[in-house]
């Protein structure tokens, strides 16, 4: 079920009404569990069984880890959980990718092998719920949290519908404690949740889908050389589209959870105002970057074994982070580009040693602009269907057009839309960089909050919703 669908509007209204009518906390949790499985099953009912199997297995393995008598046994149970979860993810998401690469490798050694293509449906949001579930056994293993005794609570923590299919990746250790006692609603919490949901829908439906998606699709879908203006417009449009799409989903999820009395952490903090790449990753998809930091980078050794090993660890993490997004080498290259940028940033920091000039306004402004430009460059590989498309777009962005004539694909109105929306996005992120949306709204006069909320709602209604799926659903 999509947030930006009429079904969800009705579903959410029914769930909210029933939820706040019930007195018993157990009944409310049962309701949320059933609602979450309906939310997921409305897409493809049989895959709800896979979701349950993943959760039930990790519930069992979490208990085994906690009960294990020796470190070796604890480790064995943890490895079982990691292996089973990643195998399931690998089968559904990477099966054909691995086979294709296996075929290619054999062909390099003169072996002509044609693997059968598996017609496997990718369960929606599998990367997210696998990480939700896996975080539990890993945190129990790390002794960050104790195992829960309630299978119902754990399956609800994994399947809680606001964050189920596209994040944020909410760790069981952050969610399970909220299931212990019935949450109360702070003054204004319910309404603030509704406003956040409106903001998230506005970002997705109006800004991502209506203002930017066509431009990005046209440019990335074109098979020939482009004019530099069109290539840049397409890439900038995608930078905005993916932010509004994904941050919009996270904002909706946080808002929906708030309406139900739950508190989810931020997943985005104005990332396009980042000054440097480590700053960017503290602001973009925070729940994934902290997951990879805690469960991959630190176990690999993190910074503890010297700068060279730290650089290698970073590259491994970003490579895997890239592949997590999709079964294609373009995603891996996207991750590696970010890895290289992070390593270079560390080298530069080691050389400049926090000199005073690095904190000067102009330096920070230039570094901020460079960060955004480099992030956009990396987005080309993320969005392009293959490397030849990526190469064509990068060449066009650099003004290098093999035939000498690039196509002017975009209507002037699309260029204006990109200019206005991306300009506004960058200014907004710069202005809000060191604050939060809550702090800004607190300072706003109430008439302005009313006007902005009404305008967002009006624009959503006027757009008439086209039911575009969220980009991150495919991951």
């Amino acid at each position: 079920m999509l947030f930006n669908s009429l079904t969800f509007v009705v579903f959410f209204a029914l769930v909210l009404s029933a939820y706040w009518t019930m007195r018993s906390w157990t009944a409310r949790k049962n309701l949320l569990l059933v609602a979450s499985y309906i939310f997921y099953g409305a897409w493809n009912p049989p895959f709800a069984l896979l979701l349950f199997a993943t959760s039930a297995l990790d519930f069992y393995l979490g208990a085994r880890i906690a009960a294990a008598g020796s470190p070796r046994a604890r480790r064995a149970w943890m490895i079982t959980s990691v292996t089973v979860n990643l195998s399931s993810l690998g089968f559904f998401k990477y099966g054909n990718f691995l086979l294709t690469n296996f075929e290619w490798t054999l062909s390099k050694y003169g072996v002509a092998y044609h693997a059968p293509q598996f017609d496997v449906f990718l369960p929606i949001g599998i990367s997210f719920y696998t990480f939700h579930s896996l975080s539990y056994t890993l945190d129990v293993y790390r002794k960050v949290c104790e195992p829960t005794k309630s299978l119902r609570d754990f399956t609800l923590a994994v399947s809680f519908f606001p964050q189920l299919v596209a994040g944020p990746i909410v760790r069981a250790a952050d969610f399970l404690p909220q299931l212990v006692t019935a949450p109360g609603l702070k003054r204004g919490q319910f309404y603030w949740g509704l406003l956040l949901m409106t903001l998230g829908m506005f970002e997705k439906i109006v800004l991502a889908d209506t203002m930017l998606a066509d431009t990005a699709d046209t440019v990335f879908g074109y098979g020939g050389p482009l004019q530099a203006l069109d290539a840049w417009a397409g890439v900038l449009a995608f930078s905005g589209q993916i932010f509004f799409d994904f941050a919009g989903y996270s904002t909706c999820a946080i808002g929906a959870a708030l309406c139900l009395g739950f508190h989810l952490k931020d997943n985005f903090r104005f990332p396009y105002a980042a000054v440097g790449f480590s700053d960017f990753w503290r602001r973009w998809h925070i729940s994934l970057s902290t997951f990879l930091r805690d469960f991959l980078y630190i176990p690999l050794g993190g910074n503890r074994s010297g700068p060279v090993r730290a650089a290698i660890n970073l590259m491994i993490v970003m490579f895997i982070g890239g592949l997590w997004h999709g079964a294609a080498w373009t995603f891996a290259v996207w991750g590696l580009i970010h890895g290289v940028l992070l390593v270079i940033e560390r080298l530069v920091k080691a050389v400049t040693k926090d000199a005073a000039w690095t904190e000067a306004f102009m330096t920070r402004l230039l570094v901020g602009l460079f960060t955004y430009a480099a992030v956009c460059f990396a987005w080309v590989f993320f969005r392009a269907a293959d490397f030849s498309t990526a190469a064509r777009i990068v060449s066009a962005m650099a003004g290098r057009i093999p035939s000498g004539v690039g196509a002017a694909l975009l209507p002037t109105l699309s260029l204006w839309k990109v200019g206005v929306v991306i300009g506004g996005l960058l200014l907004a992120h710069r202005a809000l960089r060191d604050t939060s949306i809550e702090a800004v709204v607190t300072r706003m006069p109430r008439w302005l909050v009313t006007a902005l909320w009404t305008l967002m709602l009006g624009a959503i209604i006027l757009t008439q919703g086209n039911g575009h799926a969220f980009i991150y659903f495919q991951f």
Binding site: A172, H263, L413, W453
Partner: protein
């Protein structure tokens, strides 16, 4: 150690504002704005109508029974076929599966591959779009509709049914002219001289009912701004785009030629499959006139694709110009009949359909 049985210490801040009053004001303002917009667009001539999307098409495809009469093709079949008249004349209400601006071959192929189907197919044959190769938008439109039919989720179905209820009551839910995107497209912004922009689709000029019957609205029937916008929009839409600059022209044309050649064979094969199961297929060339006729006749003369498809498939065809009672209709915007004329045209078409379908 933090425990799953202890309380969570993270609490999101909530801005301290009089939220109840704000939500009330937002609700009132939004409701007033929506009502005002509804009144405004109704004054402009818009009425509540259904959006002809893949979901509505999939609904109709889902009603096809093994012995159904099915109409496929382009918008001419949608505008010019009156379902009530066909039901009276043929004894069975046809299922309307034609799609605006679409190449119907994938739908014919879908029916041919449906082993249970042994009914009747009445197909509009507009050669320029019937022969559209697979990457072209007319072909993709049918493919998308079929994909929706095959893979609709429960959530998509329920959104569609809720949407139908709203569309049946609210005039501003009009995806031709009144979406935010369509409204922005009206901004007077000139394109670059060398921009390769596809021509825009026609504005709103017809209402659709749940059976997917299209009725041309009065403003398009009578000479005026809307009629001009519609009719002068056809020639660019019916002019094939130039070959892409990044593919050698000869290679591109050879590829297109190969795809067109394959379409003749594929069409014949699909027709024969349906006929082999006892089904019937009849092709119809619906009326069109004015400069659009000159353009179409020049690009695809009747002796060309139309005759070849009939010959190779063995299916009967009804070409409106062959019969005086069908030839005299005037399409107000050169491509489709007005609502009253479509009823009359269908009445006159029925005997020819019966005769064609009686042919073994």
């Amino acid at each position: 150690m933090p425990s799953s049985t202890s309380n969570f210490d993270f609490v999101r801040p909530v801005p301290d504002l009089p939220w109840r009053g704000i939500l009330l004001a937002v609700t009132l303002l939004t409701a007033v704005a929506a009502v005002a917009w509804e009144i405004r667009v109704r004054a402009w001539g818009y009425v509540a109508t259904y959006t002809d999307d893949s979901d509505l098409w999939a609904d109709r495809r889902g009603t096809v029974k093994p012995d159904s009469i099915v109409i496929i093709g382009d918008s001419r079949a949608l505008f010019d076929s009156d379902l009530n008249t066909l039901e009276q004349g043929l004894g069975q209400r046809p299922v309307q599966l034609a799609l605006v601006g679409s190449c119907a071959y994938p739908i014919l192929e879908n029916l041919a591959n449906d082993e249970s189907f042994h009914g009747t197919v009445i197909s509009s044959l507009l050669p320029m779009i019937w022969l559209a190769p697979p990457p072209a938008p007319p072909y993709q439109k049918s493919v998308r509709a079929l994909h929706r039919y095959r893979s609709r989720t429960l959530a998509q179905r329920s959104s569609h049914y809720i949407g139908l209820w709203l569309e049946g009551h609210i005039a501003f839910l009009n995806d031709d002219d009144l979406t935010l995107e369509a409204l922005l497209d009206h901004l007077p912004v000139h394109n670059r001289a060398d921009a390769q922009i596809p021509p825009p689709g026609p504005p709103y000029f017809a209402n659709m009912d749940l059976d997917r019957r299209n009725w041309m609205i009065d403003q398009a029937v009578h000479p005026g701004k809307l009629q001009d916008r519609v009719k002068f929009g056809w020639p660019p839409l019916f002019t094939p785009p130039p070959p892409p600059s990044y593919v050698p022209k000869e290679a591109f044309l050879a590829g297109v030629g190969k795809a067109i050649e394959a379409r003749f064979g594929d069409t014949a094969a699909a027709v024969k499959k349906i006929r082999a199961r006892g089904g019937k297929v009849v092709f119809v060339r619906y009326p069109f006139n004015g400069p659009l006729k000159e353009l179409e006749d020049k690009a695809t003369p009747r002796a060309g694709p139309w005759s070849r498809i009939l010959k190779e498939s063995g299916a009967p065809g009804i070409y409106f110009e062959d019969y005086p009672e069908l030839a005299g209709f005037i399409c107000p915007e050169w491509s489709h009949l007005s609502a009253p004329d479509s009823v009359e045209f269908t009445k006159r078409l029925v005997p020819h359909l019966k005769q064609a379908l009686a042919t073994p």
